[in-house]
């Protein structure tokens, strides 16, 4: 496969790269090193710019009014969008807009009117309620939140943890067990409005990602009607699983973007900094670290674009997505670590973005399926096909 960007893709890449360097990074220099949002006036101004670029709502499908961006191009742009301090989790501070949750595009017409369109207009924000205190790596088996039939609806009881944005969302997608005897075929996906009686955001969960927090939710006799079922009863896991697989590709791209930014900083520093009468760049120990960075980045980029290309062609890409997520999150972590080492004491300070990337990149080896689960997915493919 040829992964060289086409001239059209290169034009978009250059456009987004300029935007990050000329608009985002200068604003970021004035923000707290752990900031997760821009000043609202700056955000509004920049949204107008991304609209003028024709890239606002970048993840919205064309039929819903978004730009016509295929997943390979999306990956190339995601790599660019991540190349600033907050870029791993808040690429360009959301100024390219959001599409909400992919599952809502599968909603029925009534649900689209109530949730999808207001989300696309920026009037509503959703949360994704899957992980539970009983575990997140194997959600199909770990889900203990129950939904029981009552009064032409369902009563939810249980808890969710590590849920982002639930305290600020207007609604969320919540997975609950509707048939205890059927494993992953006994899970249903519900849309829950934030104000529903019995729905509580109980606490903030602080993590390494100190720019933002997750939340813990409780459902206590929380009644929702049949109209709130997304998809079909007992077919909720397919809804979750599709998202988890597809999400791994842009997730990997973000890691690559940050790795490139850290690597470029390390190269610049190595060329500038002298020790014992010579530039760091002339030391073999430093050169080898930079070489290893280059290899980690190229490896991750290759596998991520391969996964995207398969997805674009409509081919199965589950294994490729797992390889991409694994190489990008693990390789990205190594790159940031080496870049910090090359920077010495400065690399540990909040003066530079490296320490934030180091903390946030560590989460990437766990989020969206830990490395071990990715390896499990890949192993199934290898063993299932008699080692090819």
């Amino acid at each position: 496969m040829d992964f060289e960007p086409s001239s059209e893709q290169q034009m978009l890449i250059d456009q987004v790269r300029r935007y990050v360097r000329e608009e985002i990074i200068p604003l970021e220099a004035k923000l707290d090193p752990d900031a997760a949002e821009l000043d609202p006036a700056d955000h509004a101004r920049l949204v107008e710019k991304t609209k003028a670029m024709g890239l606002y709502g970048i993840d919205i499908p064309k039929e819903f009014g978004g730009p016509d961006i295929d997943i390979v191009t999306r990956v190339l742009l995601a790599i660019e969008m991540a190349q600033h301090r907050a870029g791993l989790y808040v690429p360009c501070y959301g100024t390219f807009g959001g599409a909400g949750l992919a599952q809502i595009f599968e909603a029925n017409e009534d649900q689209k009117e109530r949730y999808l369109y207001p989300t696309l207009r920026g009037e509503k924000k959703p949360f994704f309620g899957l992980t539970e205190p009983s575990g997140g790596s194997d959600p199909a088996r770990a889900i203990q939140t129950k939904a029981e039939r009552k009064d032409n609806g369902w009563v939810l009881n249980g808890a969710k943890i590590f849920i982002s944005g639930a305290d600020r969302a207007q609604y969320g997608i919540v997975f609950a067990r509707t048939d205890a005897s059927k494993g992953r075929a006994g899970i249903t996906c519900f849309i829950v409005d934030a104000g529903t009686p019995g729905f509580h955001v109980r606490r903030v969960v602080h993590t390494l990602r100190s720019s933002s927090y997750a939340t813990e939710l409780e459902f206590k006799d929380c009644w929702v009607s049949d109209h709130q079922i997304l998809g079909e009863v007992n077919k909720g896991f397919a809804v979750a699983n599709d998202r988890l697989t597809r999400q791994r590709i842009p997730y990997a791209a973000g890691c690559i973007g940050v790795a490139i930014a850290a690597h470029e900083m390390a190269i610049e520093w190595a060329k500038m900094r002298s020790t014992f009468g010579d530039k760091l760049a002339n030391r073999q120990a430093i050169q080898w670290m930079l070489v290893d960075n280059e290899i980690d980045i190229r490896t991750a980029r290759h596998f991520t674009l391969e996964a995207a290309e398969k997805a674009r062609r409509g081919l199965p890409f589950r294994t490729e997505a797992a390889i991409a997520k694994l190489t990008a999150s693990e390789g990205g972590g190594r790159v940031v670590d080496r870049a910090m080492q090359i920077h010495g004491g400065m690399g540990m300070t909040k003066d530079l973005p490296l320490e934030r990337w180091y903390r946030e990149m560590r989460i990437r080896r766990v989020g969206e399926g830990p490395s071990e689960v990715q390896r499990m997915v890949i192993a199934r493919e290898i063993l299932g096909s008699s080692l090819r």
């Binding site: 707290d32 109980r202 903030v204």
Partner: protein
């Protein structure tokens, strides 16, 4: 195991003599009036010159005598600050008076146990 949700350390007088001896670490703090009503919840972020010390020195120089403070050294000053604001809102139905004048955008809602 959840961390402690509310700041429950003893109040200390917000005077130059006291705050000049504070550490320079990052963290969060609360300011109360003489009656013990919380009027402001603040953070000492990485852009502050000497962390909690410089933020509370500024507070002491700008507020009338009789105010009190309590603080918590915390590297996660941003999320802890937002958490304290949300907990205060849940406990009292509103933000502290001085935060209400300039609330953070899109503050979340908590209903802590």
């Amino acid at each position: 195991m959840a961390l402690r949700l509310r700041l429950d350390k003893p109040w200390r007088p917000l005077t130059a003599e006291v705050v000049d001896r504070l550490p320079g670490q990052l963290g969060v703090y609360q300011i109360a009036d003489a009656k013990g009503t919380i009027v402001f919840i603040g953070q000492a972020g990485a852009r502050s010159t000497f962390g909690l010390r410089s933020e509370l020195q500024r507070e002491a120089s700008q507020r009338a005598s009789g105010h009190q403070f309590r603080m918590e050294v915390n590297q996660q000053y941003r999320t802890r600050w937002l958490e304290l604001l949300m907990v205060h809102q849940a406990d009292h139905g509103s933000l502290p008076t001085d935060n209400a004048k300039n609330p953070p955008p899109a503050l979340g809602r908590l209903s802590p146990n």
